[in-house]
């Protein structure tokens, strides 16, 4: 790109160059202004709002029992949902990248579905199946299992939102690395598991890690679906995002922003890890290009 730019600067007259610079400045400042207005200012305000009652208020909010309980529940939901989504994502990616079967594109679209289903509709879907008046309601009741309004419901809602990410990131990597190494391992006598752990996993690790970050971020922030399936009892079935919502509605905006700071810091960490990973993934490819 740089040599091309230099070339055009040499060949085009100085007057045109000036016009080009002008467009560049206008476009860059326009984009910066837009992103600042829509994304940056609101995000920065999260940190300001959290300290509106001073540092002591911030600490008090973060040490309240309701907050720590909500944090615990969110961590628990993430701890259940993310590993299940990783196993699913790896299996689905393998099926799609390594097998040819009718309906392959359909399966790919089905995996993508949670991206376009409204979280509220997703929550209601779970209630229609697992709720007391749901399709499986009588069966679950006879076994004395309650899912909706309890932790399993929250876990299911968390799984649903973050489902597509791992498969989405791993499929292209699996397709790119091909099957040669796996077949070599197999002819040398490796079992299916050995091939997976020693050959496949090391080559897909960055793509997998990327997907894990995305699905974790989504799991932490899940709100709509959980709002439907959770009874939202403070201290019992209230996750961090429900806590933010509840505190804000109860005019405890400082408390809501204090909890938001925790979530925003996790979001910032997510972006940082993403950035590092993107460079990692990009380097071998650009080296190959050279």
């Amino acid at each position: 790109m740089t040599p091309n730019l230099k070339l055009s600067q040499q060949t085009t007259p100085a007057k045109r160059d000036g016009a080009r610079d002008w467009t560049k400045i206008v476009l860059i400042s326009g984009v910066v202004f837009y992103l600042a207005l829509v994304l940056l200012l609101p995000t920065i305000y999260v940190f300001i709002g959290a300290f509106s009652n001073g540092f002591r208020g911030f600490v008090a909010s973060l040490t309240s029992r309701d907050f720590t309980q909500a944090l615990r529940l969110t961590v628990l939901a993430v701890a259940v949902a993310v590993p299940l989504n990783i196993v699913f994502g790896l299996c689905a990616a393998w099926v799609i990248a390594r097998r040819r079967f009718p309906g392959r594109t359909l399966l790919l679209s089905i995996i993508d579905l949670p991206f376009s289903i409204s979280p509220i509709v997703g929550g209601l879907m779970l209630v229609s199946l697992y709720g007391r008046n749901g399709v499986l309601g009588p069966l679950l009741q006879s076994w004395d299992i309650r899912i909706i309004f309890t932790f399993p419901g929250i876990a299911l809602a968390t799984i649903l939102g973050g489902m597509p990410f791992v498969a989405r990131e791993v499929i292209p990597v699996l397709e790119e690395i091909g099957t040669e190494e796996e077949e070599a391992a197999k002819t040398l006598g490796a079992s299916g598991w050995q091939t997976f752990w020693r050959v496949t996993l090391p080559s897909i690790r960055w793509g997998l890690f990327y997907g894990v970050i995305l699905t974790t971020a989504r799991a932490m922030g899940e709100f709509g679906a959980i709002a439907v399936v959770s009874s939202n009892i403070i201290g019992r079935t209230q996750t961090l995002t429900l806590y933010v919502d509840g505190a804000y509605r109860n005019y405890d905006s400082q408390g809501a922003f204090a909890a938001s700071v925790v979530l925003a810091c996790l979001a910032a960490l997510t972006l940082l890890l993403k950035e590092i990973l993107e460079r990692r993934i990009a380097t071998p490819r650009s080296r190959k290009a050279e």
Partner: protein
């Protein structure tokens, strides 16, 4: 499908053999999809079938429901249109220009994916309120943003920023600068170069991104419910209406409107896939 039906009619051991041939990844994929996604979708449809068709039609086309579809779609369309233009420009700036803090700006684009929607909702409501950082600039002109339809639009723009940028960016990156220079050297004006050379190959990407942004905005709940006043006929959107129906324990009403929304998202998903296939054809050619 055919294998399972024929073996069931023939003999049971054959079915068992067929079952044992299915590998572990298949079992996990199908089980996970069924438990979390497919069976719940089927259950929602089943529930909505238990409402009689005239009743279904009455609930789905009640004045409140119609007004929420209207508000949801027009506002999401406006948000998608804003992101269509702004997102394409952002992708252009990020690919073609070098400036300080470019990497930071590039990373910031993904914020809406990482920041929980509830957090986005409360901070947008505050910043765009009449006394907030941005809202106070509009207040003197009598323009209120938070707790109105404008607030809904701002929330929808916020959550859908990354889609257009992230679909157009890689296509622009692949585009050869030499192509533009060739057009220039052949005497094309700046506008001609833009319309005839630059735009055609990125149109599928722009459409894919815009439709994704629109689909996301239509389904959005967390940020909108906190930014809007959620008053029917004013700024109540369809997902929030479903939530209110659930809270009022009107499950039939919630199910019917949710079914309508689900069918619309399925339609949008098909549209996105078609646009993507179109883009694929472009890159193959």
């Amino acid at each position: 499908m055919t294998a399972s039906t024929s073996s069931r009619s023939a003999s049971f051991p054959a079915f068992g053999r067929w079952l044992s041939r299915i590998s572990f990844p298949w079992v996990v994929t199908i089980a996970h999809l069924s438990i979390v996604l497919l069976l719940p979708i089927a259950a929602l449809f089943l529930r909505s079938f238990s409402v009689s068709p005239p009743e279904f039609w009455r609930i789905a086309t009640s004045p409140v429901a119609l007004s929420t579809y209207n508000i949801t779609f027009t506002t999401a369309l406006v948000a998608a249109a804003i992101n269509c233009v702004a997102g394409t420009l952002t992708a252009w700036v990020l690919v073609r220009y070098d400036f300080p803090f470019k990497r930071v700006l590039d990373a910031v684009i993904d914020l809406p994916f990482a920041l929980p929607t509830a957090v986005a909702g409360i901070t947008l409501a505050t910043v765009y309120s009449q006394t907030g950082w941005v809202g106070s600039f509009f207040a003197p002109f009598g323009i209120r943003i938070s707790f109105t339809r404008l607030g809904v639009a701002v929330a929808m723009v916020f959550i859908s920023v990354p889609f257009v940028v992230r679909t157009v960016q890689p296509v622009l990156q692949e585009l050869d600068v030499a192509l533009e220079e060739a057009a220039w050297s052949l005497g094309a004006s700046k506008w001609q170069t833009f319309w005839r050379v630059l735009l055609p190959p990125i149109i599928p990407a722009i459409l894919t991104g815009t439709t994704q942004a629109f689909a996301r905005a239509v389904g959005e709940f967390g940020s909108v419910v906190l930014v809007a006043a959620n008053i029917p006929f004013q700024d109540l959107i369809a997902p929030v209406l479903v939530f209110q129906r659930i809270e009022q324990n009107d499950m039939a009403g919630a199910t019917v409107i949710a079914t309508v929304l689900l069918l619309i998202s399925l339609g949008l998903l098909i549209a996105i896939n078609l646009f993507q296939a179109w883009g694929q054809r472009y890159s193959d050619a």
